[in-house]
């Protein structure tokens, strides 16, 4: 029942919000949401203790018949691949709730939707049945769409619609793949096992896997299906961006690993070389596009495109080290991009802009945002893969695991890692170094006499970011913790693949 309780906590929380009187103060609602999310986090940690690190397969399984005719079973289970992501989801949803501030519009709906997302994401990670997964996968879409649509920026309608369209297509493709599987098999067995695909011919397998690849590729997102992400990020509010980058993108890579690699190991081996190149293109494309951005949030969004490409590279290589790298990269990208979005959010809230042509000198100790700036330096360095922080060990594992199989793609991805340093250094140097200013450089004489008054950053505004920063360093210095959780599962998955390929 442990996993059901994990799902019940946010679900009941969301229901609770619908029952709350709407005139309740937003801050009170925020506190309630935080309590629910703390409960969820504690329960997720509780799962960690119930989890047996030695076992490779699904644990804490629950299975009930639901709509047997459709092959839809209430099947839950968790393994070393999903557990870190469940923990990440719990942590980042809490962060998103904590960093929600100045919410004036429909707080009740807002927090209900946040909880609903957390519920759906948890469900997708622990679902042990294809259709059941898909229900959760689709379920997460609506609340996020609404979160962008209602609480977004000026272009929110465009961004939200684009998001909805892309992810709906993604869902349809995945559904098509699953249904196709059932159709070819002639049975409605939607259980999660490579046995299901064993008797299918290679041609059909390739088509099904191709559908999955594009479907999840939209979500990850991979170039050229990424177009929705920068727009969604720039229009979404900070907490939504944190959720989107930190958790929701991981659904794509998780799905790819779980259903692509996990169920079609033979076809995977055929498509893997192309995937590796695709990953390298995605990495380089995201990095290069990020260099040209002047909106800080778009820059971080494009960096996400690049950094999620590493996961695809690792998945393509599918060696034990690479798959461990994939898990690490998912977790560390979740933490780091959440951290960066939080900090960009602080800058935006205080200065009213994210334009790199305009912001300068924010490190100013008395009038600027020095603590935010310090954390930002830490965040971008982590993202650029500086050792001692989570990004480095993740990238190292990915590269180390992939280089023997796909040397060229790996080397190109490493170039992408070098480019990360370029654009993030530009961000730091432009926005945080120099004399404090939030105006375009026009007349240097006027510029040096301009007085700038920014609202101070209260310590509580940076606490979530500080917590994430500590997590990033902890993961970078003591990777063995996360490694222990995932070792058995990634090892088994790699074995499955090498047995097939």
């Amino acid at each position: 029942m442990m996993l059901s309780i994990l799902l019940l906590i946010p679900f009941l929380g969301a229901l609770l919000f619908l029952l709350l009187p709407s005139q309740l103060a937003p801050t009170r609602m925020r506190s309630i949401a935080i309590v629910v999310l703390v409960l969820q986090l504690l329960w997720s940690i509780r799962l960690l203790f119930a989890f047996d690190l030695e076992l490779p397969g699904m644990q804490l399984q629950e299975s009930f018949s639901w709509v047997e005719r459709l092959g839809l079973r209430y099947e839950l289970g968790i393994d070393g691949l999903s557990l870190p992501l469940v923990l990440l989801n719990a942590a980042l949803t809490l962060v998103a709730a904590v960093c929600t501030r100045e919410l004036s519009e429909r707080p009740r709906l807002y927090f209900a939707l946040i909880l609903l997302i957390s519920f759906a994401v948890n469900g997708a990670f622990v679902a042990n049945n294809l259709l059941f997964f898909l229900i959760f996968y689709e379920l997460e879409l609506i609340p996020l769409w609404l979160l962008i649509l209602i609480w977004g920026g000026t272009q929110r309608v465009y961004a939200a619609t684009k998001f909805l369209l892309f992810t709906a297509i993604s869902g349809v493709l995945i559904l098509a793949a699953f249904l196709g599987l059932a159709f070819i098999n002639g049975s409605v067995d939607f259980s999660l096992s490579p046995l299901v695909t064993e008797r299918i011919g290679m041609g059909s397998q390739l088509i099904l896997l191709g559908c999955l690849l594009v479907g999840f590729g939209i979500k990850i997102p991979l170039v050229p299906f990424h177009s929705w992400l920068p727009d969604a990020h720039t229009q979404a509010s900070t907490p939504v961006s944190v959720l989107l980058a930190g958790v929701l993108l991981k659904l794509g890579t998780y799905g790819l690993l779980r259903f692509g690699l996990g169920m079609f190991p033979d076809a995977w081996a055929v498509l893997a070389p192309a995937m590796a190149i695709w990953a390298a293109i995605s990495v380089l494309y995201g990095s290069l596009a990020a260099i040209a951005q002047r909106d800080m949030k778009r820059m971080v969004a494009f960096s996400s495109v690049g950094h999620m490409g590493y996961v695809l590279l690792a998945a393509a290589a599918a060696t034990p080290v690479a798959l461990m790298g994939a898990v690490f990269q998912m977790v560390s990208h979740g933490l780091i991009s959440a951290l960066l979005f939080l900090l960009v959010g602080v800058v935006y809230r205080k200065t009213g802009t994210r334009d790199l042509e305009v912001l300068r000198g924010l490190l100013n100790p008395e009038l600027g945002l020095p603590f935010t700036g310090t954390l930002m330096i830490l965040g971008v360095m982590a993202s650029a893969g500086l050792p001692g922080m989570a990004g480095f060990i993740s990238e190292f594992l990915v590269f180390r695991g992939s280089i023997q199989i796909y040397p060229l793609a790996t080397l190109l991805s490493m170039v992408g890692s070098g480019l990360t340093a370029v654009y993030f250094l530009l961000l730091i140097n432009r926005a945080f170094f120099g004399r404090l200013a939030i105006t375009p450089v026009e007349d240097p004489e006027i510029q040096k006499r301009l007085d700038v008054q920014l609202a101070p950053v209260a310590p509580r505004e940076t606490i979530p970011a500080l917590a994430l920063a500590i997590a990033v360093i902890a993961l970078g210095l003591i990777p063995a913790g996360l490694g222990g959780i995932s070792d058995a599962a990634t090892g088994a998955m790699a074995q499955l693949f090498s047995g097939a390929g």
Binding site: R354, V358, E366, L367, R435, D451, L454, P456
Partner: protein
């Protein structure tokens, strides 16, 4: 994309040199009259007075008791070597005397005025020859002096500047604290009262003699003897204003020292890094030496000014930048008083020549000041 809320950025008008000159000639204050200005100027000068008191005492102590001491470990303790004081010193719970030394070095380095000229005179060389003769008994100095003949004279000049600055700040400290008392007694109620008060104080002290002697082995030696005829205003105050208010030294935190970049003028007279020119925005940042002074004044901030600051902008968060801004205003007042006190004919000339001389004087000052941070004067 940028939509910058207008309340976040402000730009104050910069008065032209002509405006400044007109104000100087009309005997108006450069700083606009307002109630908050009076509070800012008087209170910031009060805390400055308290800080200067500490600086002055320490500089005089250093010049007299730490004269040519090779390892002046306790030079900031004013002779009090109690454990409690040393502990507080180690915790850096103290006045930043480094800033006083910084001003002294700037004054020595820019080398203007009568004292600097006296440093190169034969009389000075003779005076210190006697001191060096005694000091050479120390074996190390005995070895170094013949090899580096300018080493000891240069250190003695430093000590002399240190002492002279100590004497100057003694007077200024008393003046600023008197000003605060006068304001408390309602004798001073406006900015023009403040300027007049300071002008009177400066004029009264103008002729004070500056002298400096050291005691070595119970024998007294003159470094700056009274017969050198050095006086307060012409030989210390004016060079001080020149070196610290106007010229200053480039801050490592804002100016590149790279010779190829040529950001620093080879001519010291062209320097514009002084207190009247410095940008208050980066205060407390890296490489901004006046931060030390702002910190010291922050520790001595009067209640009334503190309350005023608490209600403005970031409150406690950017208090030291606000101190810097107020300090700049008050320094314009001091400069204003000094100019008013040194008009060739005190603006009371009758002949055309006298009027022209005063006008030329005002013109020269207005030209120089107009390059400064005069945008602080209006608001």
């Amino acid at each position: 994309m940028p939509i910058i809320p207008s309340e976040l950025v402000s730009f104050a008008e910069v008065p032209s040199a002509l405006d400044l000159k007109a104000k100087l000639l009309a005997n108006q204050t450069l700083l606009a009259e307002s109630e908050t200005h009076v509070i800012e100027v008087v209170d910031v000068l009060k805390s400055y007075g308290e800080v200067l008191d500490a600086y002055s005492k320490n500089l005089i102590y250093q010049a007299e008791s730490q004269f040519l001491v090779p390892f002046p470990l306790f030079k900031y303790l004013n002779g009090d070597k109690s454990l409690a004081k040393i502990w507080r010193h180690l915790c850096h719970d103290r006045i930043n005397f480094e800033y006083a030394e910084y001003c002294m070095k700037a004054m020595l380095w820019h080398g203007t005025g009568g004292m600097d000229a006296y440093f190169d005179s034969d009389a000075f060389i003779e005076n210190i020859a006697a001191i060096i003769e005694v000091k050479r008994r120390d074996p190390l100095l005995g070895l170094l002096h013949p090899l580096f003949p300018q080493f000891l004279p240069e250190l003695i000049r430093t000590a002399a500047t240190t002492h002279a600055l100590g004497q100057f700040w003694r007077v200024m400290s008393d003046l600023f604290i008197d000003l605060a008392d006068a304001e408390a007694d309602k004798r001073v109620c406006s900015i023009s009262d403040v300027v007049d008060f300071m002008k009177a104080g400066l004029v009264a002290a103008a002729g004070n003699p500056i002298s400096y002697g050291v005691v070595i082995d119970n024998k007294h030696f003159w470094v700056l003897p009274p017969e050198a005829g050095l006086t307060f205003l012409a030989d210390v105050a004016v060079p001080y204003v020149e070196a610290v208010f106007l010229r200053g030294t480039p801050f490592l935190g804002t100016v590149s020292f790279n010779a190829q970049a040529q950001q620093i003028s080879p001519d010291q007279a062209q320097f514009c890094y002084g207190a009247l020119y410095a940008d208050p925005l980066p205060t407390m940042g890296a490489g901004i030496p006046p931060s030390l002074l702002m910190q010291d004044m922050y520790r001595h901030l009067p209640k009334r000014l503190d309350l005023l600051y608490q209600n403005r902008t970031r409150g406690e968060g950017d208090v030291r930048v606000k101190i810097c801004r107020s300090f700049q205003k008050s320094m314009f007042c001091v400069t204003n008083a000094a100019i008013a006190g040194t008009f060739p004919h005190g603006l009371a000339g009758t002949t055309a020549d006298q009027l022209a001389a005063d006008e030329a004087y005002a013109h020269a000052w207005a030209q120089r000041l107009s390059q400064g941070r005069t945008d602080c004067l209006a608001v």
